[in-house]
């Protein structure tokens, strides 16, 4: 019985830990800051061009920058 109760207690605390993790969803109505222009990865055309140039020089390839960025996630 003692072992069983310890396992149950351990399981409960583990489950509690999962619920209290540091991850949190940003709700759709809380995304004003994410939609701001300054959050865009391509907000500076010159910087984007320079980054592309450096990447091409080092890797002998270009493109592949289609990663997820900012935005309000609308629609």
């Amino acid at each position: 019985m003692k072992t069983y109760s310890r396992i149950a207690l351990l399981f409960t605390f583990a489950a509690t830990g999962c619920f209290w993790s540091g991850c949190a969803n940003v709700q759709p109505w809380e995304r004003a800051a994410l939609a701001d222009y300054s959050m865009r990865p391509d907000r500076d055309p010159l910087m984007t061009a320079m980054s592309e140039h450096i990447y091409f020089s080092r890797e002998a390839s270009s493109g592949g920058r289609g990663v997820g960025g900012s935005g309000c996630g609308c629609n």
Partner: protein, 167 residues
């Protein structure tokens, strides 16, 4: 020892159950919450006996703003038949909201949920989202997103169906 542990486990289980219930949002077929109780900024129109479309929007949401001309046209066309559109802005800051409303001057009522109490209570699935409420105050349709003509067509069909129902 076991008795104490059982109490802790039962307590935590109860706490989780309450938390899950508290997360429950308003479902289709249930009465829509009274808008007067959420401290919205602005004057709400008379809604009794009318089909109401509550639209959640924000100035930082491009599709929300794109929907305004279509909703203005719908409000103009269907007001006499009993449609009332209430656009609830979820902007925390007043300035961008006031500026946009002044510039666009929509033909429907706009209010601001600056404290985001109503939108939090409704657990809006995305921006924009429209809630269609029948003449009895029951939530009938949840329409998420705005995809131009397709959305307008769907909303118009749903609204027309609700307008044709007897109160």
């Amino acid at each position: 020892m076991w008795s104490q542990n059982r109490k802790i486990i039962l307590g935590l289980t109860g706490w989780f159950a309450i938390a899950v219930l508290a997360l429950a949002d308003v479902k289709v077929g249930a009465p829509f919450p009274d808008l007067e109780t959420f401290g919205l900024e602005g004057t709400l129109p008379a809604r009794e006996g009318r089909v109401v479309m509550v639209d959640f929007w924000a100035t930082w949401c491009a599709p929300c703003k794109a929907s305004f001309p279509a909703y203005s046209a719908m409000q103009k066309e269907l007001a006499d038949r009993g449609l009332t559109i209430v656009a609830v802005s979820v902007d925390k800051q007043r300035e961008p909201y006031a500026e946009f409303v002044k510039k666009f001057a929509p033909d429907f009522v706009t209010v601001r949920d600056g404290g985001q109490k109503l939108v939090s209570a409704m657990k809006v699935p995305g921006m924009p989202t429209c809630y269609l409420i029948d003449r009895k105050g029951v939530l009938r349709v949840i329409h998420s997103g705005f995809h131009g003509d397709a959305s307008v067509r769907e909303l118009r069909e749903e609204i027309t169906r609700l307008l044709e129902e007897k109160s």
